[in-house]
C-alpha cells in the first residue's frame, strides 16, 4: 500500500546509532504549539514556497491552473526561475520505499533506518508493511505514541529501537499545548516498557510549559527501574521553530523560550538522582 512521505534524509545524525536514514511520514494528530516541522502536520501534499530570493516575477501565479485554492499540483514549480517552489509530500509504495532506503544503505556498515514524522502512527497499516519490508535493516521509529494500543504493540514486534516523545505529564496541560490527551500516550509507554525493545525518551523542554521539576519527576517515576530505557534526552525548545511556517504561507506567533541552561541541568540531575540516565542537547 501507499504512504505519504515528506522527506527522506540520509545521514541523519541525531536519529539513532551509526549511519541512519530518516524517513518522515506526513500527517500528525497532535498540534504541539512549538512544532518546528509544520510541513509534517497535514496528511496531504502541500506546496512549499521559499520567499528568500523571490524576484516577484509572478510566473508562478500565471502558471496556476486553479485560481483560488492550491491543490499542490506542482505546476507552478517548473516556472519559478529561482527554483524556490516544491511540493512536500510524495506517495510511496512500501516496497519501493524500502528498496530506496535499502539500496543506498552500504552493506556491513553499522546503522539503519529511523521512521519519523509527522507521526508514523497516522499511517499504521503502511507503517507495519514498511517495517516488514525494511528487514534486515536496523529499524527505529520516532513517535508521540498517540495511537491505538494494539497497533503500537504490533509495531514494537518489528522494531529494534524506539524514540518516544513524552511532552507533558499533566493531562490538562497536555491537551492545552498539544491538542490531545496524554492517556493513550502514557498507556503506550507502559507497553513499550514491557516490550523488551530498547528505547529513548525525548522531552522537548519549553520554559514555563513543561520545565518544572514536578513534571520531570512524574516522568521519572514511570521510567525508574526500566532496564530497556537507554536514556532520557532533554531537548530545549528550538528557537528556529517558526522558520518553516512562511514556506507554507502560515503564521507562527508563539513566543516560547528555551529553559535556562541551569534549569536543564536541574532537570537532568533530578532524573540522575532517580538512577535514570539523562542528557540534554544544546541547540545546534
Amino acid at each position: 500500500m501507499k504512504g505519504l512521505i515528506f522527506s527522506i534524509e540520509e545521514f541523519a545524525v541525531h536519529d539513532g546509532d551509526g549511519l541512519r536514514t530518516a524517513v518522515f511520514f506526513k500527517g500528525c494528530p497532535l498540534r504541539c504549539r512549538w512544532c518546528h516541522n509544520p510541513e509534517g502536520l497535514l496528511p496531504k501534499p502541500q506546496r512549499i514556497r521559499n520567499h528568500n530570493g523571490c524576484v516577484q516575477c509572478g510566473r508562478c501565479a500565471g502558471a496556476c491552473p486553479t485560481s483560488d485554492d492550491c491543490t499542490a499540483c506542482g505546476h507552478c514549480a517548473a516556472y519559478c526561475p529561482m527554483g524556490l517552489i516544491r511540493i512536500a509530500g510524495e506517495y510511496w509504495e512500501a516496497a519501493d520505499l524500502a528498496l530506496r532506503v535499502k539500496r543506498s544503505f552500504p552493506a556491513g556498515v553499522k546503522g539503519g533506518v529511523t521512521l519519523s514524522g509527522g507521526e508514523v502512527f497516522m499511517q499504521p497499516q503502511f507503517l507495519l508493511e514498511l517495517l516488514e519490508c525494511l528487514k534486515p535493516l536496523h529499524r527505529a521509529i520516532e513517535t508521540s505514541a498517540y495511537c491505538a494500543q494494539d497497533v503500537f504493540a504490533q509495531a514494537l514486534e518489528k522494531l529494534e529501537f524506539v524514540f518516544m516523545d513524552v511532552k507533558i505529564m499533566d493531562d490538562e496541560r497536555h491537551c492545552h499545548y498539544t491538542g490531545v490527551s496524554n492517556q493513550r500516550i502514557l498507556a503506550n509507554l507502559e507497553t513499550l516498557k514491557s516490550s523488551g525493545v530498547p528505547f529513548t525518551i525525548r522531552v522537548p523542554v519549553i520554559a514555563g510549559v513543561n520545565d518544572s521539576l514536578e513534571n520531570i519527576r512524574q516522568l521519572g517515576d514511570r521510567l525508574r527501574g526500566c532496564a530497556t530505557l537507554r536514556t532520557v534526552e532533554l531537548l530545549p525548545y528550538n528557537t528556529m521553530a517558526g522558520a518553516k511556517y512562511p514556506l507554507l504561507d502560515w503564521n507562527y506567533e508563539e513566543t516560547f523560550e528555551p529553559p535556562e541552561p541551569s534549569r536543564l541541568n536541574q532537570l537532568a540531575d533530578a532524573l540522575s538522582q532517580m538512577d535514570i540516565p539523562a542528557k540534554y542537547r544544546r541547540q545546534a
Binding site: 549511519l19 502558471a63 527554483g83 543506498s104 552500504p106 552493506a107
Partner: protein, 687 residues
C-alpha cells in the same frame, strides 16, 4: 602545541613574514634577464644559471621561533624566456602548461639519507666513459648541487650568527652527507624544497612523508633524542614551514600550490605502511590548522575506523582535507596501466588528486581533458532524430570518444619540456644515467580528465527514460527545447531536472554511469604517446569544468546553456531528493579501476552535522562506507553556505574562511567570484 610553535604560528598568521620580502629592482631584473634570456645559450645553461642567481640573491632571514629556517624573500624572479620565445617554441612543439617538470614525487628518502654529495658521487661514477651530452648534463647538475649547498651554508652561517653552533654545523654537514636526525632531515628538506621552487619547478609535492621520514623518527626515538610529544612539535614546526611562502607559489588560483602529502597505505612489499608518523602528521595538521601541506590518506578494506576518525577531526575543522584514496581500487588500476607492482603500491598524489608513482615517474597527469558532457550533448542533438534505439546513441558516444582521443594524441606530439637538473637530482636513476628527467622517466604516461561526467550520464539517462522507454517526450520536442534553451519549455526542463534519473540518486543512471566511464577508459586504452607511455582516464575536472561549461548549450539533463558543470566526480548541481548515502553509492562504480588517473567524489557536509556528539564516528563511517563499496577517492568539505554568502558580501570579515575548490584548499574570499558561486551552489547536506 608548545609555546615556541604557537609564537611562530602567530607570527605567520600576522603575516609578519611577508614584510621580509622584496621586489627586485628594475636594474637587477634587467641584469638577470640579460644573463638568462640569451637564446644563443642552451636551455639547461639558462635554467642552471637562473637557479644560481636566485639562490645567491636570496638573503637568508632569521625567523625567531622556528627550527626549520628558510624563507623566500624575493617575490618574483624572471623566467628564462625572452619575450615571444615561448610562443615561438609553441609553433614547433606541444607545450603543456608552462613547459616545466611538475607534479612529480621526489625520492626524498634517498636524498635526505645520502645528502647532496651522495647524489654527486652517483653523478660522477663512470662519467669518464660517457658522451659529451652526459658530461654537459653533469656540469649543470654539479653547479646546481653547488648552488644548493652554498645556499644551505648561508643559512648555517645565520644559525651561527644567532649563537646556534650545533645547528649551524649540522646543516652544512647534513645537506652534503645526509641527515642523522629527523630535525636535520626536515631542515635539509626545507632547503631542498625551497631550491626546487626556486628552480621554477612547481606543484612540488611532498610525497609519502610518513614513509621516507620514518627511519629518522625511529632512530631518534630509539636514541631518546625524541619522544612522541617532541616529535609532534617538530612535525608542527615542519608543517608551518610550508605556509610561509605558499602564497607565492601558485599556478591558476591561489592555494593551488601542490604541496600535497600522502599518508598511510601499504609499503612496496604490500604490508601496511601505517606507522606513528601517520597519526602524528594528522595531529600536527589538526594543531596548526594551516592549509599546507595538504594531507591525503590512503585507506583500504582493512583500515580501522580509528584512522578515519582522526581524518574526520581534520574535516571537521573545515580544512577540506584529508582527501582519501582507496588502495583496493587505485593499485589494481595502476597495475593495469603497466606500473610495476612495487611502484604501484608506492603511489602518492600529485598536486591535486592525480595518482603518481614516486622517484621514477615523469607522467604528465593532467595533459588534457575529455569533455564528456559536450560529447553527450553532441550525440543527442545530432543523432537523436534518426537513432533507432538508445543503444545506437551509446555506440555513437563510444565512437566519438575514440575519435577525440586519437586527435588528442596527435596534438601531444613533439613535446617541449624545459630541462631540470634540480628535479633530476631529486629523482632516482637520472644521475646514474646522466640524463635529464625532462627527457622522460621510467613511466611517461599521460593523464586525461573526464569533465562533466555526471552531466553526460544524466543527459543520456533522461533521453533513455523519456524518449525511448516512456515516449513521454518526443524527439522533436526535446531538441527544440534544447535549441531554445528551454524558453517556452519550462515544464519539460522541470521534469528533466527533477523527474529524470540522476547519477547519485537513481540506480539506472548509476548503471549508465558505469558504462560511460568504461567507454571513456576504453577510448584511451591502447593509445601511446611519443614517449611510449599510455593514456590514463580520470574522473577529475580541474578548471576544465568551468571552461567547458561556458560554451556548452542547454543539455538534456535540464541544465541551461552556460550553467556550470559540477566539479570532478560529483552529482548535478541541481539534484534534489538525494542524500550522502545515495550519492556515495552512485559514484562507487565498478569501472573505477579503469579510470584511476584521479579526481575525487566531492561531498559537502554542512558544518552543523559536526555538532552532534558522535558526529566524528558517523562521518568516519560514511567515508569508510564509500571505500568499502569501491569508491576510489573522496574529499569532504564541512561548509556553511550562509557563511559563504556573507563572506561574499563582507570579504573583509571572512579572511580565514577556508574551502576546497578542486584539488586544494584555499581562502574563500581570495577566489574569483565564479569559483565562489560554484562552491555555494554545490550540493550540501545538512541535518
Amino acid at each position: 602545541m608548545n609555546d615556541q610553535i604557537r609564537k611562530h604560528l602567530q607570527w605567520i598568521e600576522e603575516r609578519q613574514h611577508r614584510k621580509l620580502r622584496r621586489n627586485l629592482m628594475p636594474d637587477e631584473w634587467q641584469r638577470i634577464c640579460d644573463e638568462i634570456r640569451d637564446p644563443s645559450k642552451p636551455m639547461a645553461e639558462r635554467v642552471t644559471r637562473r637557479l644560481e642567481l636566485f639562490l645567491e640573491m636570496e638573503q637568508p632571514v632569521w625567523m625567531e621561533h622556528t627550527h626549520i629556517q628558510g624563507l623566500r624573500t624575493i617575490i618574483e624572479f624572471p623566467d628564462i624566456y625572452a619575450p615571444g620565445e615561448m610562443d615561438e617554441i609553441k609553433t614547433r612543439h606541444f607545450v603543456h602548461e608552462k613547459g616545466k617538470v611538475t607534479n612529480i614525487a621526489c625520492d626524498y628518502g634517498t636524498v635526505l639519507t645520502e645528502g647532496l654529495e651522495g647524489r654527486r658521487a652517483r653523478l660522477h661514477a663512470g662519467l669518464e666513459q660517457e658522451d659529451e651530452a652526459a658530461k654537459a648534463f653533469a656540469a649543470y647538475t654539479d653547479r646546481t648541487l653547488d648552488a644548493v649547498e652554498q645556499f644551505a651554508d648561508r643559512y648555517a652561517q645565520l644559525y651561527e650568527a644567532h649563537g646556534d653552533m650545533a645547528r649551524a654545523q649540522a646543516l652544512s654537514r647534513a645537506i652534503r652527507y645526509g641527515a642523522q636526525t629527523m630535525e636535520e632531515a626536515m631542515q635539509c628538506f626545507r632547503m631542498i624544497h625551497f631550491s626546487f621552487w626556486a628552480a621554477d619547478n612547481y606543484h612540488n609535492t611532498v610525497g609519502r612523508f610518513d614513509q621516507y621520514m620514518y627511519p629518522f623518527y625511529q632512530k631518534d626515538i630509539a636514541s631518546g633524542l625524541l619522544d612522541e610529544e617532541s616529535a609532534l612539535s617538530l612535525i608542527e614546526d615542519f608543517f608551518l614551514s610550508f605556509n610561509v611562502d605558499s602564497d607565492l607559489y601558485y599556478s591558476l588560483q591561489w592555494g593551488d600550490n601542490g604541496q600535497s602529502l600522502m599518508l598511510g597505505g601499504c609499503k612496496r612489499d604490500g604490508s601496511s605502511a601505517v606507522n606513528e608518523l601517520t597519526t602524528l602528521a594528522m595531529k600536527a595538521s589538526l594543531a596548526i590548522r594551516q592549509i599546507d601541506p595538504k594531507l591525503n590518506l590512503r585507506v583500504d578494506k582493512n583500515t580501522p575506523l580509528a584512522l578515519y576518525e582522526l581524518g574526520t577531526q581534520l574535516t571537521r575543522m573545515g580544512m577540506g582535507f584529508p582527501q582519501y584514496a582507496n588502495d583496493d581500487v587505485v593499485i589494481p588500476g595502476l597495475l593495469r596501466w603497466g606500473y610495476d607492482i612495487e611502484d604501484a603500491r608506492d603511489y602518492t598524489v600529485a598536486a591535486c588528486w592525480e595518482y603518481i608513482v614516486p622517484n621514477v615517474s615523469m607522467d604528465i597527469v593532467n595533459i588534457d581533458a575529455m569533455p564528456m558532457a559536450e560529447v553527450a550533448h553532441g550525440v543527442i542533438s545530432e543523432c537523436l532524430p534518426y537513432a533507432s534505439t538508445f543503444e545506437d546513441l551509446l555506440q555513437e558516444i563510444s565512437c566519438r570518444l575514440h575519435n577525440r582521443a586519437l586527435k588528442m594524441v596527435q596534438k601531444h606530439a613533439c613535446l617541449y619540456m624545459e630541462p631540470s637538473p634540480m628535479a633530476s637530482i631529486l629523482m632516482r636513476g637520472f644521475l646514474e644515467a646522466k640524463r635529464d628527467i625532462s627527457e622522460g622517466g621510467k613511466y611517461n604516461n599521460y593523464g586525461v580528465h573526464g569533465t562533466g561526467f555526471s552531466c553526460a550520464v544524466d543527459q543520456l539517462a533522461a533521453v533513455r527514460r523519456f524518449v525511448f522507454e516512456e515516449g513521454s517526450v518526443s524527439r522533436e520536442e526535446l531538441l527544440e527545447a534544447l535549441g531554445a534553451n528551454f524558453e517556452g519549455h519550462e515544464q519539460l526542463r522541470h521534469r528533466l531536472r527533477t523527474e529524470a534519473p540522476k547519477i547519485g540518486r537513481d540506480e539506472e543512471a548509476r548503471m549508465l554511469g558505469n558504462r560511460l566511464l568504461k567507454m571513456f577508459a576504453e577510448a584511451l586504452d591502447g593509445l601511446h604517446n611519443e614517449r611510449g607511455g599510455c593514456y590514463r582516464a580520470g574522473t577529475g575536472s580541474a578548471m576544465y569544468y568551468l571552461w567547458h561549461s561556458r560554451e556548452l548549450p542547454a543539455t538534456a539533463d535540464g541544465r541551461d546553456a552556460g550553467q556550470p558543470l559540477p566539479a570532478n566526480f560529483s552529482p548535478a548541481l541541481f539534484i534534489t531528493r538525494t542524500g550522502p548515502l545515495s550519492v556515495l553509492r552512485g559514484f562507487a562504480l565498478s569501472a573505477l579501476p579503469l579510470a584511476v588517473n584521479g579526481g575525487p567524489m566531492t561531498l559537502e557536509l554542512h558544518d552543523t552535522v559536526f555538532k552532534a556528539e558522535d558526529s566524528v564516528e558517523k562521518v568516519a563511517r560514511l567515508v569508510q562506507s564509500f571505500m568499502l563499496q569501491g569508491g576510489h577517492q573522496l574529499q569532504l568539505n564541512a561548509v556553511n553556505r550562509e557563511k559563504m554568502k556573507k563572506a561574499q558580501e563582507h570579504p573583509e570579515e571572512y579572511g580565514d574562511l577556508i574551502v576546497r575548490v578542486w584539488g586544494w584548499s584555499g581562502h574563500f574570499v581570495e577566489l574569483d567570484k565564479a569559483y565562489q558561486d560554484q562552491i555555494i551552489a554545490r550540493t550540501e547536506f545538512g541535518i
